[in-house]
Amino acid sequence: MANNNFDLVIEPNKTTVDLFKELLRYRELFAFLAWRDILIRYKQTVIGVAWSVIRPLISMVVFTFVFGRVAKLPNEGVPYGIMVFAAMLPWQYFANAMQESANSLIRSSQLISKIYFPRIILPTASVMVSAVDFLISLVLLLMLMAWYRFMPSPLILLMPLFFIPATMTALGIGFWFSALGVKYRDFYHLLPFMVQFGMYVSPVGFSSSIVPERWRFIYSLNPMVGVIDGFRWCVQGASVPLYMPGVISAFIISILFFFSGVWFFRRFERSFADFI
């Protein structure tokens, strides 16, 4: 039977609509959800948005003190505070974005069980909060450079390039974990450990150049290695050569994470309401 004159046909196990068309239609909802998350974040606090400046500031001070003064790690000619902050910036962004996105579905279970919208909006929109935090921290980094009277190389303009794999990895893992977490809350409890563990294996407090050469590529399979190296490279300038295989693997692996995440999420989003 011809159903051409119907706008929408709902059938089991069938992706009924084109994702991009659907996302375009719901782009305003995306904006509103992101806006809501940013708005409610510091409601009923006295200093409000200032928190998003104070938090990274405090952790930077702690890091600089512990690793620069107490542990006395080498700094490759760049003030240690900047070294650490340039790595912490992408790492904090990645860790927050991943957690926000992975928990987004469980947090909005009421919405999922009562209203239809493309579910993928939820984990994606929740990354926006972390992106805003990232921008604030970026300004802090620039202020820190001014404080140390450190002139960044022009390469700093390439920084947004490394923002892309960080976001895609965070979203990819976010899609996987949020979809799995709908039915198995275990993933919800697993994530904090992953973040903690990830920080030790990623070159946040140290430089990835201390990794022996023959292990370097294996080490770079962690996409955040390439990202963090990239951020550092942008700040320090071309004097320290960038380990290119690491950067390339970061891009490839982040793309893999992202698209497999989208595929997995799309495959099961229609049954979320039954399990959440």
């Binding site: 119907f6 046909v9 709902i10 409601k43 209203i115 039954d274």
Partner: protein, 432 residues
């Protein structure tokens, strides 16, 4: 094919798997099974597992087929668990069907709950924008309708207050106001009018009326409130166990049929105590029989008219006579409103003293049905020792008798239906 069909449902089915967690399972077994299944689950986490003994299938919807035409206002009725809400969820794409097909024409907006997506920390103003976007309004539509929403909800003064400080009434009003201004071709509404005070419910009904009648939109409306259904809808669908049991454009007849099948088990307005297993046994008054009867002692069948002479009778046994014994009944409307209660002690005997009841008694009083409005009623037995204790208080187990008052209120050509008001009294009008 009919061009006017906007919703076409073919052979729709929705299955849920109920997992019964067995407590007797040893932790070791559970862990072993989990481990065994784990690999499979990571690859196909949402795939139904093979049927184990502790998994039970449940079809919330089964072989459901019907069409809805443009501008139809369909009331969906049925008991709890009949599949009404599941149908709406599948229709609004919240959950996917297990089998069958739904074809839709036009934008669908569904309102399954009032205030979904409201964030308590956000102000009224912020929540209007957010909630409207969640329900599918575009930015331009939100702007256009903003004032109308605020006006309808009556929350002008509190627009910049977080909604967590709102009274529950204000909260619901705001939420409904947003939903009422949705501008979609098909509107799906689940039992949302059951909230708010009477005044606001009226306002909601008015708005729904306006939306459906004047704007000619297609509406699917689930409700247990039959008067709302009969007021709004021009077609009624009745569901039971996921099937369609009734589909008619004669709303009044459909509702009546549903109400009658609902009371099937109680064909007579009579309650009889179980002879083998006597309930409510106590030394002061053990009820045997309670109900509504005609003058010839025949129990009343479901419906009576206002001109019938009917009597409430209460039969029971007394072992220990007590002067404080009160035996009577309360009369409830279908909405659960108590109209009045009456006890045998209300009328003193001729000497002005209470007659102490003893042994086997039958009490009888005429029920003034000519003062009652048309509708469904329930009689409930009340027995107590005055100021000492309740022997049979009013709760779900109380002996009760249901009846329907039908027919005409009077012979006036202008009074063919139920009248507003709890009672309907024919006064003796005179021209002087």
């Amino acid at each position: 094919m009919n061009k006017n069909i906007v919703i076409k449902i073919e052979n729709l089915g929705k299955r849920y798997l109920l997992m019964h967690q067995r407590r007797e399972d040893l932790l070791y077994n559970v862990l072993a099974n989990k481990l065994k299944n784990f690999c499979g689950r990571v690859i196909h986490p949402f795939k139904a597992r093979p049927m184990a003994s502790n998994i039970e299938e449940f079809w919330a919807l089964k072989n459901l087929s019907f069409d809805v035409e443009l501008g139809e206002r369909v009331g969906v009725i049925g008991r709890n668990g009949a599949g009404k809400s599941t149908l709406l969820k599948v229709l609004s794409r919240i959950t996917e069907p297990t089998q069958g097909r739904i074809s839709l024409k036009g934008r669908v907006a569904s309102l399954l709950e009032v205030g979904t997506g409201f964030h308590p920390e956000l102000t009224g103003r912020e929540n209007i924008s957010l909630n409207a976007a969640i329900l599918g309004m575009t930015h331009a539509e939100i702007k256009k309708n903003f004032d109308a929403i605020v006006d309808f909800a009556g929350v002008e003064k509190f627009l910049d207050t977080p909604v967590k400080r709102y009274s529950s009434g204000m909260y619901v009003r705001l939420a409904f106001a947003i939903a009422a201004h949705l501008n979609s071709e098909i509107l799906i509404v689940d039992e949302v009018l059951a909230v708010g005070d009477v005044e606001f419910q009226k306002k909601c009904m008015g708005k729904m009326d306006e939306v459906s009648h004047q704007q000619g939109r297609t509406i699917l409306f689930v409700s247990h409130n039959m008067s709302a259904i009969s007021q709004l809808c021009n077609r009624v669908i009745c569901m039971e166990h996921g099937h369609l049991t009734l589909d008619t454009k004669d709303v009044t007849a459909g509702i009546k049929l549903y109400m009658n099948t609902n009371h099937e088990a109680k064909a007579f307005a009579e309650w009889l105590n179980d002879a083998d297993n006597i309930k409510f046994k106590n030394p002061y008054f053990t009820p045997r029989r309670f109900g509504l009867y005609y003058a010839d002692k025949q129990p009343v069948q479901k419906s009576i008219t206002r001109s019938d002479k009917v009597y409430v009778e209460i039969e029971g046994d007394i072992e220990t006579p007590d002067s404080a014994l009160c035996v009577g009944f309360a009369l409830y409307t279908q909405d659960g409103l108590e109209l009045f209660r009456s006890f045998q002690t209300d009328l003193l005997n001729s000497s002005g003293e209470l007659k102490i009841l003893d042994k086997h008694v039958i009490l009888r009083a005429e029920l003034p049905v000519n003062y009652l409005n048309l509708g469904d009623y329930r009689l409930m037995l009340i027995v107590g020792l005055h100021n000492r204790q309740w022997l049979i208080g009013i709760d779900n187990n109380t002996p009760s008798a249901d009846f329907t008052l039908d027919g005409l209120i009077n012979n006036s050509p202008y009074c063919l239906d139920r009248r507003p008001g709890f009672m309907a009294v024919n006064l003796d009008w005179q021209l002087i």
